[in-house]
Every structure is written in C-alpha cells, then in structure tokens.
C-alpha cells in the first residue's frame, strides 16, 4: 500500500516536472532497492519486520496525474521479523493469518500534491478480508534514472480486526516504505 501511494506521488511530481510525456506510462519497480517494513511497539519494547515479496502495478499519467494508478500486492507469507519465534507468531491467526489470507493489497484512489517533493496517496487497503481507507504521506525523490517514493505512516491494525494483545501491543503500527522505480 505504501508503494502504491509512492507511485502515485511519483507520477504527480513527474507530471509537474515534465508535461510533454505520454499518458499511463507503466513504472518498473526496482525490487532490490524497494522495501516495505513495519515497526510494532509494545509496553516493554518493540520489534521490526517487513515483507520480502511484493509486486507493484503502477501506471503514471504525467499529463493528468489523477488518471494514474497504483496497485500493490504483498505476499503475506514472506513476512519477516527480528525474531524467528515472533515471525511464526505473526504468521498465525493472532496476527496476519497468512494461511488463510496470503495476500495484502493496496489500490490507490486519489493522489494529492502537498507541495514540492511531497504527496499524499489515498487508497484502499485490504488485509484479513477487511478493506480500509488509508492515507499515505510520501516524500518523492527524483533523479535522472529513478523515482523514489518514501512513505512513513501509522496503520491502525485494529481496523482490520487484528486485536491480539490489545493493551500490551500498540494498535498503531509504524509502516515505512521505500519504493524505487526506474525511468
């Protein structure tokens, strides 16, 4: 989801920079340089994790950014964390239930410019069979051969019915995404 937001932001920024390109240009994700991570906090500490596998279908309309689209599909089974036992637990029904819900998706619905190098990507995130509207603030960095969307935001896991450990584990999970697209 973070990625999709980033893609749209990229499209928006690029559109501001160059108005004579072609519409609905697909953007190619640089998988090696891209990542989607999370940081979960609890009363007595915190744990980092993320997803190793995800795909991004991004189409940038540099003339009319509103026509751009971004779709991210995360392979939930590729979840990792900083503790092997925690990884197992996170994959189980208390949290991501990856056997039952192996995919997490994000589909952008709107991109708003927030000034130079910044954008907000609106979209629908589906996880644990629940769809929730989310807003992803992004920093957009461009250079000669790539566009990078950096998002850092908080996701309320309880909106997806992920309530295990409420009171000890924070509902808000910090999401950090770094999506790099080649030009």
């Amino acid at each position: 989801m973070i990625r999709s937001g980033a893609l749209w932001a990229v499209a928006l920024v690029v559109s501001l920079a160059s108005s004579n390109t072609f519409a609905q240009q697909p953007l190619k994700l640089n998988k090696e340089k891209s990542k989607i991570d999370f940081l979960g906090k609890k009363t007595d500490g915190q744990h980092a994790g993320g997803f190793k596998e995800f795909t991004v279908d991004a189409k940038a309309d540099f003339e009319t950014p509103a026509n751009s689209s971004l779709q991210i599909t995360i392979d939930a089974t590729s979840l990792w964390s900083d503790d092997a036992k925690l990884t197992d637990h996170l994959k189980n029904p208390d949290f991501f239930d990856v056997r039952k819900y192996p995919k997490i998706t994000f589909q952008s619905t709107k991109i708003e410019s927030e000034g130079e190098g910044k954008a907000v990507i609106h979209g629908k995130m589906k996880m644990l069979d629940k769809e929730v509207e989310v807003k992803v603030p992004c920093d957009v960095e461009m250079n000669e051969d790539s566009i990078t969307l950096k998002g850092k935001w908080k996701l309320d896991r309880s909106k997806f019915g992920m309530t295990y450990g409420a009171g000890k584990i924070d509902n808000d999970v910090e999401i950090t995404s770094n999506l790099v697209f080649g030009l």
């Binding site: 009363t43 990884t87 197992d88 637990h89 994959k91 189980n92 029904p93 208390d94 990856v98 056997r99 039952k100 819900y101 192996p102 309530t163 295990y164 450990g165 409420a166 009171g167 000890k168």
Partner: protein, 287 residues
C-alpha cells in the same frame, strides 16, 4: 489493570475457579445424589471454565467457528457428559467403546485445518487423522479403564502428568492457542484439587475429554506453526496419557502412592525432555 495480570486472571484464575466451585458443589451433593450426577456437574463446570476463559480473552467465541480447534468444544463436551458420567452408571463396555471411537474420529477430523491455505499438507491429512484418532481412542480407553479400576482419589494428578508434553507443543504454537491450552489445564487443576477430598467420580468425568484435548493439542501445535512439519517424534506426546496410565497400572499395589505420582511426573518429564532435545537438534541442523 496491566495486560499480563488481566491475562493471568482470564486464563488461570477464572477457569480454575469456575471448575473448582463446580466440583465443590458436586462434592457437596455426592452424599445425597448419584455419583454420576456429581461427575456430570464437574464436567459441566470444567467445560464452563474453559469457555468463559475464552470469552474473557480476545478470541471471538463461535459455536461453530472457522477455527477448527474452537470446534473441539463438541467432542470434548460429548466425551465429558456422555462418557464421563456413564462410566459411573452404565457398564456396557461395547457401547462406550463405540462412543469413544466416534469421539476419536471427530477429534481427528476437527484437529486438522482444511482451508485453501493448507493445500500443501493435504498429503499428511490421512496419516495424521489416523494417528490422532488412534491416540484419542487409546488414551481415552486406557485412562478410563485406569480411572475406573485402579485410581485412588489422587489419581487425577497422574492423569495431569500426561498433559505436559502436548501442552508444550500447543503452547509453543501461538498466543491464543496457548491461552486456550493453559485455561484447559487450569480448569483441570481446579477439579483435581477438589478430587483430593472426594470420590474418584470427579476425576472420571474429565478423563475422556482430556484424552480428546491431549491428542488435539499435539496436532494443533504442529499444524499451527507457520511451517508445519510432521514428525514421528511427536508420537510420544500423542500417547503420553495412555503410556502413563499403562505404566501406573502395572505398578499399582506394588509401590507407594508418592512413588506412583513421582513416576508419572518422571515419564511426562521424559517425553518433554525428548521433545525439547529433538527440537534443539532440529534447530541446530537448520543453522
């Protein structure tokens, strides 16, 4: 209240308290009412303690949940109410064996997850259903036979020894399952305390459902890890209660009570040690 303290109350204090109170009431009625009535009341209190604990924790309770392990309430309930009470009033062994077989089959069927996400373990389903069914049947039959013929008042504590190995496997799977398993053990302890001062009927009422729970816990513990790996190493855990009951039967009347309890504890610890050693051995091999 801090999360951990609340959790301890929910999964330890409540199920043990409810089961203990129910067993005390059963004990109080034991002189005026038939023994099977007390056994039934104890079984209901045992089940109630477990269900209330589940309500109190964050697991959404459903009578027929998508989570197969939550459906285990049904074979547990049948085993507790039908087999637990009838062992003290209805002596038809064939009928009871047939009922225990049905319970064993239901336990095996309900213990294995079958949603589309579990297709990679389809090939293991048959052999695991067989292992779970056979262990439930054998555990149930041996424990019940042991309870009805050899067990003194403290006998339930030998039975509790058999919970150790499957408890270890299930508790290591994931949070809510571990909480459920701990609540089962807590409720059992509640009954066991009262059983020290009562006829053996109280213990009989939860012997059969414990056989159900024990087999299922082993299955869940294995299947509910993110990368299910089925191992023959788990067989001692599946058959732990039956093994303990069998060994205890062989020594009954030959060694003092404290030695029988110690022997049950040692057998359980031995199986736990074996499981731990094998898991450490496997972890070392992976690195």
């Amino acid at each position: 209240m801090p999360f951990d303290a609340q959790l301890l109350i929910d999964i330890l204090a409540i199920p043990s308290g409810v089961a203990l109170i129910g067993a005390l009431i059963a004990l109080a009625t034991s002189k005026k009412l038939p023994t099977w009535f007390g056994a039934g009341l104890t079984a209901i209190a045992w089940l109630a303690g477990i269900i209330i604990a589940q309500y109190k924790t964050l697991i959404p309770w459903e009578w027929w949940s998508e989570e197969c392990w939550q459906r285990l309430f049904w074979p547990m309930g049948v085993a507790a109410l039908v087999l637990g009470t009838s062992s003290l009033c209805c002596g038809n062994a064939n009928w009871r064996l047939m009922m225990m077989s049905l319970v064993a089959w239901a336990t095996a069927w309900l213990s294995i997850p079958r949603s589309s996400g579990w297709r990679d373990i389809d090939s293991l389903e048959g052999i695991w259903m067989l292992a779970i069914g056979v262990s439930t049947l054998l555990n149930g039959w041996l424990v019940e036979r042991w309870i009805s013929t050899k067990a003194p008042r403290w006998g339930i504590w030998v039975l509790i020894g058999g919970i150790g190995p499957p408890l270890l496997l299930a508790a290591s799977a994931y949070g809510t399952m571990a909480q459920w398993v701990v609540s089962v053990v807590a409720a059992t302890l509640g009954v066991a305390i009262v059983a020290l001062f009562s006829p053996q009927g109280l213990a009989a009422s939860i012997a059969a459902p414990l056989a159900v729970v024990i087999s299922a816990m082993v299955a869940w513990g294995r299947f509910r890890s993110s990368s299910p790996s089925i191992s023959w190493d788990d067989l001692p855990a599946l058959f732990a209660p039956g093994i303990i009951a069998l060994v205890d039967t062989a020594f009954a009347g030959r060694i003092p009570t404290w030695a029988r309890i110690l022997l049950a504890g040692l057998l359980s610890a031995g199986v736990i040690g074996f499981l731990y050693w094998r898991s450490m051995d496997g972890a070392a091999a992976e690195t």
